[in-house]
Subunit: 134 residues, 4 copies
């Protein structure tokens, strides 16, 4: 079960609207449940460095079926999986990646956002997730 | 000078409409003049293999400022640049990638399409390019 | 808008003169605003390891439009983006990379320097940036 | 024994002058005998695709101590080493790469040129080699 293009477009449109409200130029990336790119928008003025970061956050979220920042709990100093961030070509274990689930709770993909401060990226991603459920 | 997000969305919408007319499930990728991803849509049912092919065609077009298939003239048997396809992390020297230029003819990016037969991919890319000029 | 070859040569010449004053054998790399190599000099005696470090610092600066060491503020222990250094094929978040801007403040590229102690690399990069504005 | 920065600058200046005479916007790359980048100039207007091609030609020349096009004799249809072009991260076995040797004939590096037609790239590289010997 994968996110459809129509769903991905709804997610991106809502995220982009939230980014504009916040005054953030963001990169917004949507991956499917197989970790493959489904849809992608880079707003004018977003840093080039955010392309890889946004997709990396979405990758982190879909690989483990959680929010990207949740992965930090496993690899932070003293936690049981030091170095986990080096797996899978590099994880991005901080906020802005969120898994997408259907009405039954099945993982269908993830959204990743980068371009603002980390809490802003998280708010933008949340707007995308909320639009999917609406 | 780079393609704007609004321009990229116009290009993708036109290409996607043409793909639907042709009954093709396509991946459509738009890069800027610096070879960085600007916008991307994968239609439902498109082969996963087309993700990299579509972006590779766009890369080929923007790297050399031409259509992706034009690059084949340099590397085909007997041509002066055998092996050129191995450069730049792998070129995709067949139709479906086309450069995007502004009204002054300046290179601002490229579109790459994959998912149908090669001539179909070319028609879909052409629809995207035409929409930019319209 | 990208740094011209003439500008890149002015930047490198000034940086190299500063390196000689400091007794440092440096690698000096200039990227354009699209993160593509524009000009590069490796002074005789510079460590081979500095080739990738210098270009990595310039990449870090242009990807985020700041100095390379500024990126450390986001990823250092306790900061909001742990693991950011793993993005974009590996960042170099310490001094020696500086963005290049035109008279209007537009990002046109970056300089990256490696070969000396980190504060020396920073001084050499500053000399390059200063020459661009002169 | 490696090409010095001063020698690399002489080689690049001569190649660049020849490129201007020919009306070609070229990328000119000089590697040392250990296949590491020594100096690099990208002329304004050169295709981005030429960055990797120019350095790839120089790599091909220094890896085998010959001109880049000489390597084609080993891998062309019917020759004894089919697929050799896939080694070393991808060879560029066509003209524009030439080895650099000191007065005793010792290999000290290579020049690689891309941006014009293949015979033009060869003429530009030859000008660089000639300047080293002068």
């Amino acid at each position: 079960m994968n996110v459809s293009l129509q769903q991905a477009q709804v997610v991106i449109a809502a995220a982009q609207a939230r980014a504009r409200e916040l005054g953030v130029q963001a990169v917004i990336s949507v991956l499917d449940a197989g970790v493959h790119l489904k849809a992608f928008h880079r707003m004018d003025g977003a840093p080039l460095g955010s392309i890889d970061v946004a997709t990396g956050k979405a990758k982190t979220a879909v690989l483990f079926g959680c929010n990207s920042e949740d992965v930090y709990e496993y690899l932070k100093p003293g936690a049981p999986a030091p170095g986990l961030e080096l797996s899978n070509g590099g994880l991005m274990p901080f906020a802005g990646g969120m898994s997408l689930r259907n009405a039954d709770g099945v993982l269908i993909g993830a959204i990743g956002v980068s371009g603002g401060a980390v809490p802003q990226d998280r708010l933008i991603a949340e707007a995308g997730v909320a639009a999917l459920g609406a």
